[in-house]
Amino acid sequence: MKKIVFIGALCALSSYGFSQDDTLRSTQNFKEVQIQGEFKVGDIDSSSNLQNSIDHLLSTTPGITMIKRGNYALEPTIRGLNAGQINVTIDGMQMFGACTDRMDPISSYVEPTNLEKIKLNTTPNGDQSGSSIGGEIDFSLMKAKIGASKKISGKVGAGYQTNANNIQTLGTVQYSAKKWALLVNGIYRKADNYYAANRKEIRFSQFEKWNAGANLAVALNKNNKIYLDYIQDEGYDIGYPALTMDVGFAKAYISAFTHKYENKLNKFRSLETKLFFNYVNHTMDDTKRPEELVPMHMDMPGTSRTFGGFSKAKFLLSPKHILNVKLNAYQNDLHAEMTMYPDFGSEMFMLTIPDGVRRTAGINVSDTWFVNSKLKLTYGARAEVNASDITTEIGEQTLTSFYNGDAAQVRYSGNVFAQADYSFTRKVAVFGGVNYAQRPPSLQETYGFYLFNRVDNHDYIGNPDIMNETSINTNIGIELKYSKVAVTLKGFANYFSNYIIGMVLPSYSNMTIGADGVKQYTNIDNALLTGGELTLNWKPVDNITVNSVNSYSFGTDDQGGYLPYIPPFKSINSIQYNYKMWSVKVEHIGAMAQNNVSTERYGEGTTPAFNIMNFSVHKHFKLKKDKAIHAQFDIQNIFDTPYYEHLDVLKIQRQGINFVFKTTFVF
């Protein structure tokens, strides 16, 4: 233990790395979406997930709901929590979008070609990278495999979707030697405007992007490996029909160096240390919009730079205890500015995020205790310190517009959690847990300056005096696994104090032309968020699988009103028939109406119910020498039903009928 801490401290910036190990986390509050890598035999997803968009993969994961502003870069929320309330990381690395209008959640800067899997944690587990009160989404990067059976292997794919004239081509190639391996991957995607039901064109919904990644793995010796990761992601001319501006370009550069020590025979099981640097450069653009829709031309560039590292270690204390320790530290710098060009008069300039910086350092300690063959307890804590400041003179000057005090501030936050899993038999298990968590306000919530939110049509101003948001979270669930049917039912309740939300500042006048006013981030006394998910997997006969994923959440504020961004009951049901190398799937996606809204306080309107149907057929062709072709044909929204979901900004209709062709060559 001492040794671990010592090594961790020496590395100064660091985390421990071990491959997915179920014993370490409460499996029941953990969900993985596998994209590449090791698959179960005959898993139909093995080739199709690589061709799916991140947005699609996230939106079909129970517990995740996406905020939609266009046909690109949807923003994930977890169980009714979003933005600063959740952690989103890439391979455990912090990265922050640069856009003030939340156009670039970091999920938009990775592609399935980069990823091994997407991991969702709905509760703290000792591996989290920040003190969030909600869950965490981590995009695990695909690593080159040393000593693979094939020296050269890979996948090449292409896809076309009729609705938005959407093309994509992708490729991933791995070269594997005895001591090292290299993986490179790339993807190009381009789409025109998409069409909602009845061929209604949604203007400004186009996008174009490419993404390339590389991973080099080198085995130093039996137990030590190093990895180098680099990803470059560039999007251009991206339309956001729900917003007043589009995006000229959105670029991200992601790099990491990782050292991994692993020894399955030693009590000191593993140590992973990662150093990372990433940079996001984002520019909004309104020049493609018709002039009558643009009251004033503006340039709104923003940058975000994050660097840091983590070190995590796993230690087998005894056959019954596994200890995990993680240290991490990082710094994030945000800069966002706006230049406005009126038809008459001089140009205007302001900072919308006045050069904020945050330095964070934290430690996680958790223990997994196998009490007996039936009971497993996991408990631990995270402590974190955040130092925030404004780094430039003009930034500090800007802050004086709404705040008299010192820009610099230090906050402490963290969480403590305990989770129990009890298996009555191999087939029946129950689980439950409780955690107390705090999160600091984000840099936007602290220093933001007239950040426009289209949902409630208000400009938002930060609040340096805002208090940490705290929550007491409980979860409970039951899992049944029989040979033909598996059922999981999970419930959660999240009781907040100092819930952070925007409240109207009556004396302020809005900066954005056409906005309804100004809000400032404020704590409200309390809020309550409850909900759950029910998943069902049923195999009535060998070739047929019935799947059902249902989720619901419900949130109220201190006045008994309804919280915003809360998805209604949603159900995704499918029946799949597999025969030899064929697979046919019919899917129903439906949501109930969301009438639990507080229009006056939060600006949200109600959303009607919808039901859509999808159809999909896959064929897997096995070729000689371990090669294969995977072909897929989908019809999405078969009945061309007009619909939108509750978290869709401005209630812009989603895609109507869409024919999808995809093929992947595996070698």
Binding site: R305, F349, L351, T398, I513
Partner: protein, 269 residues
């Protein structure tokens, strides 16, 4: 690959350190910005008076602009030594052909540190068709300087004349110099009553209500502190500029709940 990564990592750290240095420099610069050392006064002109005194006229800038203008007078004897006990008076005059008028001013006082007689003139209009002169009298003998008064930059207005609802004529001017920045700024104004062509009286009896407005966007700004009277016709407050650009400061001069004058000052930075 390795190199790229190392380079990017190194450059990131370099980046940080560079930026810090720059910031420090700028903050030092701005801390001196407020007070102007005497060496920075610019010589406008110099004349010999009949009583053998050399009178040198200085201002903050070689180019004199409409509005509030600090004036610095240096009086020297024939040996070139500064004279500290002269009686110095200013008399600005606008010759408009048909008529002549003066302007609001503050008569100079000797500043023993800087060794200048420091006063102020508010030039209420630019030279152009007509011309400004400034008579400087030292110990009873006066010299006349021709003053070229330039208009303020386009889309700015630093001084304005208004006829109040009480029928009187008022001059409202922005006190300079100003070093505007985004955020909170100290701001001062002067109010004079135009009693006659030659007499301008500083007014201290008003309550001033200030509302800044971004003219091209139509929005205001929060947290402004309306100027309050400081004596001698001065009003001081704080203005919040949330961005750069064209700002209009709407100033209502209120006396016993009646708005006597609705003035405006236009600023561009």
């Amino acid at each position: 690959m390795k190199k790229i990564f190392l380079f990017s990592l190194m450059s990131s750290f370099l980046f940080v350190s560079c930026k810090k240095d720059e910031e420090k420099n700028t903050s030092e610069d701005s801390s001196n910005g407020g007070s102007t050392p005497a060496e920075q006064y610019k010589l406008i002109d110099s004349e010999n008076a009949a009583n053998d005194l050399i009178i040198e006229l200085y201002a903050d800038s070689e180019m004199i602009e409409v509005g509030y203008t600090p004036i610095y007078v240096k009086v020297k004897d024939l040996n070139g030594d500064a004279v500290s006990n002269a009686t110095v008076e200013l008399m600005p005059m606008m010759d408009m052909g048909m008529m002549q008028h003066s302007s609001p001013l503050e008569q100079p006082n000797y500043n023993s540190t800087s060794k200048y007689y420091e006063g102020m003139v508010i030039f209420t209009m630019p030279s152009g068709m007509n011309s400004w002169t400034l008579d400087v009298m030292a110990n009873g003998e006066s010299v006349t300087f021709d003053i070229e008064v330039n208009d303020s930059p386009a889309n700015t207005k630093y001084v304005g004349s208004y006829t109040g609802t009480d029928g009187e004529s008022y001059i409202v001017s922005l006190v300079k110099p100003n070093d505007w920045a985004v955020g909170m700024n100290d701001v001062s104004f002067m109010v004079h009553k135009n009693e006659s062509m030659m007499s301008y009286v500083p007014m201290d009896n008003f309550t001033m209500e200030m509302g800044p407005q971004m003219t091209s966007m139509g929005h205001g700004s929060p947290n402004n502190i309306s100027p309050s009277n400081q004596g001698n016709g001065y009003y001081q407050g704080e203005v919040n500029f949330t961005m750069t650009g064209d700002w209009r400061l709407n100033l209502d001069l209120v006396e016993s709940n009646d708005t006597i004058v609705s003035a405006n000052i236009d600023i561009l930075f």
